[in-house]
Symmetry: C2
Subunit: 349 residues, 2 copies
DNA sequence: GACTACAATGGGAACGGTTCCATTGAGTAG
DNA sequence: CTACTCAATGGAACCGTTCCCATTGTAGTC
């Protein structure tokens, strides 16, 4: 009977200590990386008792006493976005390598969910937070920051809040896109973005596009719209663009992967052939090479970004880490030129 | 000075109690859903003190005493697989709706990582586990099960272990695929799967395919191979299939989304036009409608699966839940017929 | 041989909650 | 008026750790 009960519940440190005939302090030492302070005998006795009882230290109790939960939180605006998942993958691997666990929270771009999740993460006393959401910093987020929880922002900046930032070099990315499109002969451009209010990087890209487009003497415009609600307005925008008079080849530039998907769908629905119009996207996706004649993209180094974010975070957790000034890490995208920007209709002259 | 310190650390229940001039028992009651046992006065006093101190109960401490962490674990074999993410999304939403949080662990199909993650989840005393990995149940998993942690398996079964199962009706899925392909006139089929050793559902699909193919008098074969390491062997298999003599139209059937992606790439690399050969996949992906002429798929109801898994799990957590016999919930896929199975070359006779 | 230094170990007080049980006081039935 | 019930509240033990502070024993120093 007692063995049946024992099997149904995790053993405690006290039970192990008892089994091994030592004090719980010693068992605690054994499991907290202080094994070298214990004699050989003691180590083997504890090891065998622990194995026999199938003991694992209770992380809750540990966190309670020591004040560190070994938990990192991550806030993701849209988990269905492959880019976010790829970055998350990187973050998770890096965390695990350092002995931390990652709690992922998806907000579906909903501020209410974001607040809920933040409250939750706070309740678990996470030691750091990677953020890929948050248009406006919520009260919860500010509190978390005030309490000294290190923050890393992915591809956004949150003015007032002190936090490290990791992401793409957005200005350079737009420049690269324009360089590429110009060099291929496209001179009339439409930039399409998801709502800029939700992410500062979108804002930067859009502004940079407008500024550079003008500077380079290219025609066209930039547009920000919500994909969910305005599928028809996207089609309308594309139609207008295609119909607008211009003697230079037209191309569409998509601000992120979601836009690329929506635009590709819209073009297909319209029966527009890729190549008849140029198409280029920021964010590489599985299928960009598969849609004939291949969609040109600027790929983000997702794994690097994830790793860098985690490293920045964990450095803050080290003894003198908090003091350092905020880091800004910006990566260059990689151009993957494909057929969709290859042959502007009128450029063969 | 003291206020500065106060801001940098979370308030405790004792501080709130002190501020409000009540006992910590009352504060505890207030935050544990026993507000109706407190007088109006008390409630407002606690509320204001808590707000002033910005108090949130420490979930670690809660879990320690009460024994429930309010944490659900999820083991995912491959987080980069959109299907897994979609299901995870469903699981997470359902958890949150019931007041649980989800800790997601990605194993990258690596048994070692799986064991690590399981140890970790055990350390946090998760109350339930959703599993989308595990070819063979590891020792850690068995222990978790023995200790009474409810398990839900997604699309796999783990013989010896008692657990609920949620997933696709695999046999029916294969039948639907064969029905569709036959009805379109395809009579020579190649079924491609990822290694069946890693998931029982793959095993079932593959066996069912072979059995039904023969039963229906169709020619062809089924093949199981690893996508990572054997990209070339995939191409070889396809080449062989295409080269094999047959007077009936040929079609490829892909066992899951990863295979569909790899196969589509391989076909493109070979310069094979979709339509010259039939193509059909299990799992719907963003881009299946975009690759001309559109790839026919059998879509899984990912959201339903996620929700069902969570519900099964949480029911086990209820007072009498553990006793119920294991559930088996199987969903029907949805056929999305597209151009890739539309016009077998020789069927126009 | 007495004293110090140090390595090896154990005892017990936190950590921040929950929960059982006691206490108080007001209302109510006899 | 007394006894009893019940609602409202508080005291204190406990959950499973960590960690500070003894305590012991042994070796090294003069």
């Amino acid at each position: 009977m007692s063995s049946a009960r024992a099997a149904s519940r995790r053993a405690t440190i006290l039970e192990v200590a008892h089994q091994a005939g030592v004090s719980k302090t010693s068992v605690s030492r054994y499991f907290s990386g202080e094994r070298d302070r214990l004699s050989e005998t003691m180590q083997t006795r504890i090891a065998s008792a622990a194995k026999r009882l199938n003991y694992r230290p209770n992380q809750m109790a540990r966190g309670l006493k020591g004040g560190h939960s070994r938990l990192i939180g991550m806030l993701i605006a849209d988990i269905l976005n492959p880019f976010s998942v790829a970055v998350m993958h990187g973050v998770e691997q890096a965390c695990r390598a350092k002995g931390f666990s990652l709690v992922v929270c998806n907000t579906d771009n909903d501020p209410a969910q974001e607040r809920d999740h933040l409250a939750l993460l706070a309740a678990y006393r996470i030691e750091g937070l990677v953020i890929n959401a948050a248009g406006q910093p919520s009260r919860e987020l500010k509190q978390l920051a005030e309490q000294g929880t290190p923050l890393v922002l992915l591809d956004r900046s949150l003015g007032e809040l002190e936090a490290d930032e990791v992401g793409l070099d957005n200005a350079r990315t737009i420049d690269m896109a324009l360089d590429h499109l110009s060099s291929k002969g496209y001179g009339d451009l439409l930039y399409l973005s998801e709502p800029t209010s939700q992410a500062s990087s979108r804002q930067i890209r859009l502004e940079r596009f407008e500024q550079q487009r003008e500077l380079r003497g290219l025609t066209g415009r930039a547009l920000s719209l919500s994909l969910d609600k305005e599928a028809s307005s996207l089609e309308q925008a594309i139609s207008d663009f295609l119909a607008s008079p211009s003697q230079r080849p037209k191309a569409l530039l998509c601000g992120n992967g979601n836009v690329t998907l929506a635009v590709t769908r819209a073009l297909q629905a319209k029966g527009v052939v890729l190549g008849a119009i140029g198409l280029m996207g920021i964010d590489e996706l599985d299928w960009c090479q598969l849609v004939t004649p291949g969609i040109t993209t600027l790929a983000q180094p997702t794994k690097d970004i994830g790793r860098a974010a985690t490293e920045a975070l964990l450095q803050r957790l080290e003894p003198n880490g908090k003091a350092a000034p905020p880091r800004r890490i910006h990566y260059q995208p990689k151009l993957l030129a494909r057929g969709s920007t290859q042959d502007p209709p009128t450029s063969t002259a």
